[in-house]
Symmetry: C2
Subunit: 256 residues, 2 copies
Amino acid sequence: MSRIIALVNQKGGVGKTTSSINLAASLAVLEKPTLLVDIDPQANATSGLGIDKSSVETGIYDVLLNEVPINDIIVKTQLDKLHLAPSQIDLAGAEVEMVGMEGRENLLKPHLEALRERYKYILIDCPPSLGLLTINALTAADSVLIPIQAEYYALEGLGQLLNTIDLVKNGLNPELDIEGILLTMFDSRLNLAQQVAGEIKKHFPEKVYENVIARSVRIAEAPSHGKPIILYDVNSSGAQSYLALAKEVAARRGAK
Amino acid sequence: MSRIIALVNQKGGVGKTTSSINLAASLAVLEKPTLLVDIDPQANATSGLGIDKSSVETGIYDVLLNEVPINDIIVKTQLDKLHLAPSQIDLAGAEVEMVGMEGRENLLKPHLEALRERYKYILIDCPPSLGLLTINALTAADSVLIPIQAEYYALEGLGQLLNTIDLVKNGLNPELDIEGILLTMFDSRLNLAQQVAGEIKKHFPEKVYENVIARSVRIAEAPSHGKPIILYDVNSSGAQSYLALAKEVAARRGAK
Ligand SMILES: Nc1ncnc2c1ncn2[C@@H]1O[C@H](COP(=O)(O)OP(=O)(O)OP(=O)(O)O)[C@@H](O)[C@H]1O
Ligand SMILES: Nc1ncnc2c1ncn2[C@@H]1O[C@H](COP(=O)(O)OP(=O)(O)OP(=O)(O)O)[C@@H](O)[C@H]1O
Ligand SMILES: [Mg+2]
Ligand SMILES: [Mg+2]
């Protein structure tokens, strides 16, 4: 009775972490027990929720490479229904270590399968690459949520990302599906944004979420206070947009 | 008589590609023969200069892994003094292949050393990670230019980046130093931007460039026309800022 969703886009700076934190926080506020798994060596989702990444002694690196059960690393956050599996700096060297390992793409999946009873949603924040960490997330996930900026390079990378999702679907994870495409940092006054958004909607009509996240400095300020936007400024347009997105995600499909 | 500069930041979307293209183009306009090397599997610097990445038969992947001389892949651009060593999609699998190779960090350096007589500047656009492709760039470079957005996560990642630069300096490339720190997508009306910029200037007073690149949609539009900003809209503030930056980079030090 849970859904595992990976937030993936190899293009950098498109709002993966911001969407992971704020969608997870909004689902928690809607009373759905949610776990956020941070598998980005930058550990931005960890610090964005107010946890000091240098103080994380055992984290996702130990789960993937030292067989520590994920239960042992899960921490609470300021929201009762939101838990976090934090990243740590050691993760930066993980991909090189994983290359030679047996079943290197399946290191994360067994840990998340064991948590399905406990969480309604498990979100995975991925690094800006299609390397082994992201492949582990795609193998463990039921579906992929693709945050994307309405700009040229982000649009250009979409093809490569969809190819990789297909590869994983045809091999490691036949269940994998696209949960949705989320337009982030959207500025409706710009022609460029309108054009690129139009292109994306034309190619993926049913996949693009109704709710678009507009560019708003309050969203960019929140992580410096270690809080999701809904706790930093609940009346902001950003908080309302992510809350509406959470309702759209929950409504789109019943959990498995 | 040349300078090899790597544009590096593992934080995604901070303006590495945009700065690589537009600094290289501006240096070329100032009559300095310049080569732009694209080692990002996304190949954004390649497409941003109007070259179709799927039509690149031999590219930087072949130079690093198939011993093709870099001369064989260099192409012209719309600017007489600007050449490009293009990336290609195959590069996405390169890091996994490089892990087991002898001298895996030094695959790029010999190729660029052989070009020092031909180019006054060689710029390297890096992917958003500190993996083997970026390590190859840091090993080959004389110095590092760090594009950075004035936002929380970008500031947070600066420590990890400087540690990595130190590691390379202490081992593979003792000559390596920091060319400069470039504030990008800067919006002076935002408190967040002012605060973060203040932090960076406090920690690295001599390294931050006088010239700051303001957020401007013309800069984001230019790559969809396959042109650097100076060819897309020479009168725009973006074109003027990157031209001023090129003059500052050229003035900061005489070439080696
Ligand atoms: N809607 C928004 N409005 C304004 N700023 C935003 C918005 N969404 C994200 N940002 C800011 O844009 C930057 C990039 O976002 P974020 O770090 O979430 O992207 P990412 O895809 O996770 O990046 P990376 O590729 O490095 O992992 C951050 O500084 C973030 O605070
Ligand atoms: N000064 C600017 N004003 C407005 N938009 C900009 C500016 N600089 C860059 N951009 C846009 O911001 C986005 C991110 O920039 P860019 O792709 O150059 O960053 P990057 O660091 O190379 O990203 P990646 O980490 O994916 O390699 C792009 O869509 C680009 O067009
Ligand atoms: Mg992120
Ligand atoms: Mg780039």
